[in-house]
């Protein structure tokens, strides 16, 4: 496990902590929500994040990135999770940046990676087609026509879909809707004719979109990786995103828990602080135990990525399942222990709860990942 941070990583963590606390506190998310900000995230803050090197964290120096690696990224995401900072980190950096880095041609890399690292290009992965994460159920079709492809289909829950400049679309080039093989990834400019994008307003006030592709024509140069070989890339990219989201959820869970324990020491009823009631103490202690285990699985998953271990899929599912479930418990308990105050919009715990649910549903919740873990372990 990567427990002892290098000097570079410590610096990164301190920078990230300060940046999110000061520049992107929870109030920032409220403002985006209340002003119905069309972009759905703070473009100024994103530019600053890029300047701090966060956008290029997984990108090699050759393409203008900082190459701090997965552990570095985990540190940043954990801090972002603490303040519910909305940014294109997941869509652009974790998903699309990784996909291009893994599968892109030299031209595609040159074209895309430096722009991502500079914070100038927003990208989104158009993958899901139903209400549950299912990366191999792809009905969207891409039919070859000479040196181009014609794509038709509907995508849902595309993170940052309505602000993306370019999309990576998972489309079927062969086989049946539920086949594991036969999926191809395409780079598609969001303004291409036939692409219509509709923003969906999600409960966590973050960005997602429904996108339909109506006979969208792209040239064969825009295939990312090999034809019919998309699943392999998707598997790797999704695991990076799952681990990243787990790191974000770790920060979220820790923030809610800390706030709740503070409240238990502050709020008085029956002439004593409510934290002296054993019914609440035991639930708090139990959550503490679960969160300690959360921290271990997230660190292990980040280390697995960093060391390119061959159990990355297991580590990703372990982390995503545990963090999704613990985030549900801790936000529910946090709300309950704040009494009526917890039910108010003015109070932050509700915002944390909403984000926890969306992050849990993103790329597989506890049920999905327990099932996947069992399959990976051969039972």
């Amino acid at each position: 496990m990567a427990l002892v941070l290098t000097e570079e990583q410590q610096l990164l963590r301190d920078t990230a902590t300060q940046f999110f606390q000061e520049r992107v506190p929870v109030a920032n998310l409220r403002r985006l929500r209340d002003t119905k900000e069309p972009a759905g995230f703070d473009r100024g803050a994103w530019k600053e994040m890029a300047d701090l090197g966060f956008a290029g964290i997984l990108i090699s120096e050759k393409y203008g990135g900082t190459d701090f690696g997965p552990v570095g990224l985990g540190l940043v995401l954990e801090q972002a999770g603490r303040t519910l900072a909305a940014s294109p980190l997941v869509s652009t950096v974790l998903l699309c940046g990784s996909a291009v880095q893994l599968a892109g041609s030299a031209t595609q890399r040159q074209d895309i990676l430096p722009a991502i690292a500079a914070g100038e290009l927003i990208m989104a992965l158009a993958l899901e087609e139903g209400p549950h994460h299912n990366p191999t159920h792809i009905a969207t079709r891409a039919v070859a026509e000479g040196s181009s492809y014609r794509i038709s289909g509907k995508k849902t829950f595309v993170l940052d879909g309505h602000v993306a400049d370019r999309l990576i679309v998972a489309a079927r080039t062969s086989g049946k809707d539920d086949d594991k093989s036969g999926i191809t990834l395409f780079l598609v400019d969001a303004k291409t004719k036939g692409v219509s994008i509709e923003r969906t307003l999600m409960v966590d006030s973050r960005n997602a979109a429904n996108i339909s592709f109506d006979n969208v024509v792209v040239s064969a140069d825009n295939v990312l990786g090999s034809v019919d070989g998309g699943t392999d890339v998707l598997d790797q990219v999704l695991d990076i995103a799952r681990i990243g989201l787990s790191a974000e959820l770790l920060g979220l869970v820790q923030a809610v828990f800390d706030q709740t324990v503070d409240y238990l020491k502050e709020r008085k009823q029956f002439g004593v602080v409510i934290g002296s009631f054993q019914a609440l103490k035991h639930r708090a202690a139990d959550m503490f135990a679960e969160i300690e285990l959360c921290r271990s699985v997230v660190l292990d998953a980040l280390s697995a990525l960093e060391a390119r271990r061959n159990d990355v899929p297991q580590a990703a599912s372990l982390a995503k399942a545990r963090l999704s479930d613990t985030a549900r418990v801790v936000t529910n308990e946090g709300l309950q222990m704040h009494g009526g105050m917890g039910m108010t919009d003015q109070f932050d715990v509700g915002l944390y709860m909403k984000r926890a649910r969306v992050a849990a549903a993103t790329f597989g919740d506890g049920n999905f990942h327990r099932d996947r873990y069992a399959t990976l372990e051969g039972f």
Binding site: M1, L3, V4, V261, L264, K265, V272, V273, G275, S276, Q278, K281, H282, A284, A285, D286, F288, A289, E292, L293, C294, R295, S296, V297, L299, D300, L318, A321, R322, N367, R370, D371, Y373, A374, T375, E377, G378, F379
Partner: protein, 395 residues
């Protein structure tokens, strides 16, 4: 070659030459090497193995050589453990003396006491039991009433202990006694005495698992030499608490699934007893429960590893270790519940024909596992401790 690698190589060679073949198999309950004056050896190799390991002090690898220990550094001791696991060598000695009393004596006892008691523990010659709990003092241990009166050249002990594991088989007892009735915590002392002293009587109590490992232990005018007081008079509570930490560390390891029924994995048993469909456990609900159990077990193991690595690197607060006893024992109890669900009625036999040894072992171990969250401080008490010491919540 690095000194540690040299040590590894020598250790490997020594173990290869000295660990009997039958000591490299998983251990049936009845072969547990408890040692002691009245030790029984269901497998004679257990005795050979114990004596060979003890001759090097390797039953207590890190204890100083002058007290019979191995005098190994932490790192060497880790290597020894790795090399033993490599050949699946059994632990040569199971002993409350090793796990609980010894570490406390090393910290709190005087020179004479260390020389008298530690070497026989290392060699497995004296078996110890723990006289803490009383009928009126369980979770509230400091409320204990067993009394020791100063009679000039000895203490006179009167009272009763309960749940004393293996009191009927032990040679000596480490015992908490009240030496000042006016104070609670500051009126407790830590005494050692021989179980054959006149006035000591141990009556076994049958547990739900059918075994009788623990006893009611009565003391009637038991004369204990004054030199057997450890630490200062009325200062036994500090020693008692430190010893409990060692006990909890020992019990926490259970969450990792040692013990009966763990040689076959949950999923392999489930495929066996439920059947499989397309390589999956046939029951989807059970499959999910097994996945959850395995994932929690893995997360717990990673947390033990993380805490150890943090301690080694001198970072972190060590706060996570406060959850080990609670989490590890609850996890172990859930594991046995799951084993029972997997085995169905084959996991509900009591004795006789119709059940394999392993099935009956699971049933008995399931029952025994219920005690894990009671012994050494209950789960509720562990949660109280976390709430108070780690989270800072008030009483």
């Amino acid at each position: 070659m690095e000194p540690i690698e040299k040590f590894r190589q020598e250790t490997r060679e020594w173990l290869e030459a000295n660990c009997p073949a039958s000591m490299r198999t998983s251990m049936p309950e009845e072969e547990t090497p408890w040692g002691g004056r009245n030790a029984t050896w269901a497998n004679p190799d257990s005795k050979v193995w114990l004596d060979r390991m003890a001759s090097r002090g390797w039953t207590a690898p890190t204890w100083p050589r002058e007290y019979g220990g191995g005098g190994l550094t932490k790192e060497e001791s880790l290597v020894l453990g790795q090399e033993m696991r490599r050949i699946k060598a059994r632990q040569p000695l199971s002993s409350f003396g090793l796990w609980m009393l010894g570490p406390a004596l090393l910290e709190f006892a005087n020179e004479e006491q260390k020389r008298e008691h530690l070497p026989p523990i290392v060699r497995g010659e004296i078996r110890w039991c723990q006289g803490y709990s009383e009928p009126g003092a369980g979770s509230d241990l400091a409320g204990l009433q067993t009394k020791a009166e100063d009679k000039g050249d000895y203490y006179l002990v009167n009272g009763q202990k309960i749940w004393t594991s293996y009191a009927d088989k032990a040679d000596w007892i480490f015992c908490l006694v009240r030496t000042d009735t006016a104070k609670k915590h500051d009126g407790i002392s830590f005494l050692l005495f021989d179980m054959t002293t006149p006035g000591v009587e141990a009556r076994p109590i049958t547990m739900i698992s059918g075994a009788s490992p623990f006893c009611e232990t009565f003391f009637t005018d038991v004369k204990v030499p004054k030199k057997n007081l450890v630490g200062e008079l009325n200062k036994g509570w500090t020693i008692a608490k430190r010893l409990l930490q060692h006990e909890r560390d020992m019990i926490s390891g259970m969450g990792l699934g040692s013990g009966v029924g763990s040689s076959a994995s949950l999923e392999a048993l489930a495929k066996d007893y439920f059947g499989e469909a397309n390589g999956r456990v046939a029951s989807a609900a059970l499959r999910e429960h097994i996945a959850k159990q395995k994932m929690d077990g893995k997360a717990f193991a990673l947390t033990l590893q993380r805490t150890a690595e943090e301690a080694k690197a001198g970072i972190g607060t060590g706060a996570a270790s406060s959850i080990f006893k609670y989490y590890g024992t609850e996890l172990n109890k859930r594991r046995y519940e799951l084993l029972l669900e997997i085995l169905g009625t084959q996991g509900l036999g009591w004795e006789g024909e119709g059940f394999t040894e392993e099935e009956l072992g699971v049933t008995r171990s399931w029952l025994r596992s219920k005690g894990n969250s009671i012994e050494g401080g209950t789960s509720e008490v562990q949660l109280n401790v976390v709430a108070k010491r780690v989270l800072g919540l008030p009483d």
